[in-house]
């Protein structure tokens, strides 16, 4: 049985794919948790910390609200952690006792650089449960993630 699904997100790029996958599961019985990990190494020089934190909160809230509206009645928790991304995801999966990690195959960092995000690859050996890596639909592959992130920041 799959009852608890942890959804680590970096942006809104995989929103639709996440939804499409969840439709497959028996959503009446599942609990979801949306997680964003603030990469401790990057936040320092890329964004002023406060702003980044607020964006992260806005991101997980947006993802969770979208999920709630598609799957009414399903419990959706959110969490923002800070640290080494793969370690924090694995830790959260264990604490939440996740049956499944559902995530995009790459985040913004990976775009144009690697086909497979390094976090996804490094996470699999650490993950205490199965991992589903979603592939972005071709039409979305280029240039959408950044806009999404900016939109979140703008609507907070």
């Amino acid at each position: 049985m799959i009852t608890k699904v942890l959804i680590p997100v970096e942006d809104l790029l995989f929103d639709e794919e996440i939804r499409e996958f969840l439709v497959q599961l028996n959503t009446l019985a599942i609990k979801l948790k949306v997680l964003h990990v603030v990469d401790a190494n990057r936040a320092v020089y890329e964004w002023p910390s406060m702003e980044y934190e607020q964006n992260s909160e806005a991101l997980v809230r947006t993802v969770a609200e979208n999920l709630r509206s598609y799957f009414p009645g399903v419990e959706v928790e959110t969490a923002v952690r800070e640290g080494i991304v793969k370690d924090e995801i694995a830790r959260e999966a264990e604490a939440f006792q996740a049956d499944l990690l559902l995530m995009g195959s790459h985040g913004r960092r990976g775009l144009g650089k690697f086909l497979l995000g390094s976090t996804a690859k490094d996470l699999i050996p650490l993950s205490p449960c199965s991992v589903v890596l979603l592939r972005a639909k071709k039409s979305l592959k280029h240039g959408k993630a950044k806009n999404d992130f900016e939109n979140i920041a703008a609507t907070k």
Binding site: F21, Q24, P125, L133, R135
Partner: protein, 169 residues
Amino acid sequence: MRVLVAIDDDTLINPIVDFVAAAFSHHGTIIKLLHVIEPSQVTDTLTSMSGHGETRKILEERLRSASTLLNEVRNDMHPKMIPSVPIEISVLLGTPHRVILETAEESQSDVIVLGSHGRGDLSRLRISSVSYAVLSHAECAVTIVKPRQWVEDLEDSSKSKHAGAQTLV
């Protein structure tokens, strides 16, 4: 939903069957079980034996054991799925990641399901080269199935790999 399940050996069959049953037991799902025989496995066995003409024999033997394995998986899977879900079986010869990717493309798979590791405890610490190649190049979603390894399971190291949810790191 077209689901391609690549089965390497019998190591993670239980968790794989459980995952597929939990996630894809719906009308409209089509399951394909795939095992890939590497030509090098056949020729490696060959060099350790004398004479030619053995290739065919070894290959036939590999084919037989692979179809036996996949049939076992199908038999495990059937009762856990709704009856209308067809489960196809396919044994192919070639480089595993290439064959998996090509099959996924030909059968227009929506998701590829792989086990997280093969035999041997060290292989659990890293992602296998086949998984890595499939993850890197697949056009569709990829699921890496792992037995659950929550904290409470870590204390009991004697559980067999077939205990599925109880297996430890």
